[in-house]
């Protein structure tokens, strides 16, 4: 983990918490067995790239090939929170 990421995690932990809570609030009400489970991993990968696409200034950043890449932690944590509560409810 680079030093930029460590600094970001130490100062910007609240968007992750709020994203998880928000995703949980909506994912808590998911109850359907008709959905294709193999598509979940596709959604995960796509949401990772979309999170990079919508990242703006205060979000986490790291330098890759001399380019600054910003990652929207709120986006990705909301998706993770959604899936976590959805799987817990299905158990």
């Amino acid at each position: 983990m680079s030093s930029e990421m460590v600094t970001g995690l130490s100062t910007q932990w609240l968007p992750i918490v709020f994203g998880l809570i928000y995703g949980s609030i909506i994912g808590y009400k998911v109850s359907s067995e008709e959905l294709n489970r193999t598509s979940y991993i596709v959604i995960f990968v796509v949401s990772f790239f979309v999170a990079i696409g919508v990242g703006t200034y205060p979000d986490y950043q790291w330098t890759l090939f001399e380019r600054v890449i910003r990652f929207s932690e709120a986006f990705f944590s909301a998706v993770i929170g959604f899936f976590i509560t959805m799987f817990i409810r299905r158990q």
Partner: protein, 259 residues
């Protein structure tokens, strides 16, 4: 005289009345320009940069937060009105052969793409909400995007087979929690500074003194842009908007189910 003649005379009288009223309104507006003092504009420019870089958000939430509170109550009023007009559908039960008509019209591609798209919309809505203090967005648009995700599912899968099954009580609870977050943060500002909805997380006027309790600022947001209470207010508004718009969608769809 015929009826037509009366109508023509009435039109002439109405036209003259409109001219007289327009004259006085324009004259009042012209004189009113002398009383406008651009003081608040100076305040925006002076203190706005200390609170959040997005000046629109600063104006909306930090100087005109009553305006946002009014929007929230307008939404509540809209939900109540929709409930009164279309809420009778929720009192009826499902028929045995009930499948909402729209579900049968949706294609395979729509059913395949609706749920993944909704997951991405939820992430995007949360991004808008939590980034509202620095980038375009905020609680209202973010909550509307979240409700759009639910609306998409309801339209494509139908009310009975939708993957996200919001209940009335759950949405009412969410809406109440959202409004309470907004109001209680305002009370915190009132208690600590004497001003309702004062930004205690930034304290731009330096009137909050809670050093004895071990805090420099109360309700500050861990962010390099130091927006203070604005993200929390965004959260409250977005919860209310998500629940309110979803309730409207729910009632409109339920009103259709037994017809």
């Amino acid at each position: 005289m015929k009826t037509k003649d009366f109508q023509e005379a009435r039109n002439i009288i109405a036209g003259i009345s409109l001219l007289i009223a327009s004259f006085f309104i324009m004259r009042t507006l012209y004189q009113f320009s002398g009383y406008v003092i651009p003081g608040m504009s100076y305040l925006y420019n002076l203190y706005g940069g200390n609170i959040a870089p997005n000046i629109i958000t600063v104006i909306l939430f930090d100087f005109r937060n009553w305006d946002t509170l009014g929007e929230v109550f307008i939404l509540v009023t809209a939900v109540i009105t929709t409930t009164m007009v279309f809420g009778w559908g929720s009192l009826k039960g499902y028929k045995k052969s009930e499948t909402p008509e729209i579900t049968e019209e949706s294609t395979v591609l729509q059913r395949f793409m609706a749920f993944p798209l909704t997951v991405l919309l939820i992430g995007f809505g949360v991004t808008l909400i939590l980034g509202g203090h620095i980038s375009p967005g905020g609680g209202f648009p973010g909550g509307a995007v979240l409700a759009t995700g639910y609306f998409l599912l309801v339209v494509i899968y139908g009310l009975k087979k939708t993957p996200i099954k919001f209940t009335h009580r759950y949405l009412v609870n969410l809406s109440t929690i959202g409004v309470l977050i907004f109001l209680l943060i305002g009370v915190v500002g009132l208690v600590l500074s004497g001003f309702y909805l004062y930004n205690t997380g930034v304290d731009p006027y330096g009137i909050v003194s809670i050093d004895s309790m071990g805090w420099d600022t109360f309700l500050s947001y861990p962010d390099p842009t130091t927006p203070g209470i604005i993200p929390y207010l965004n959260l409250g508004v977005s919860l209310n908007v998500l629940a309110g718009l979803s309730l409207i969608v729910l009632f409109l769809m339920e009103a259709n189910k037994d017809e």
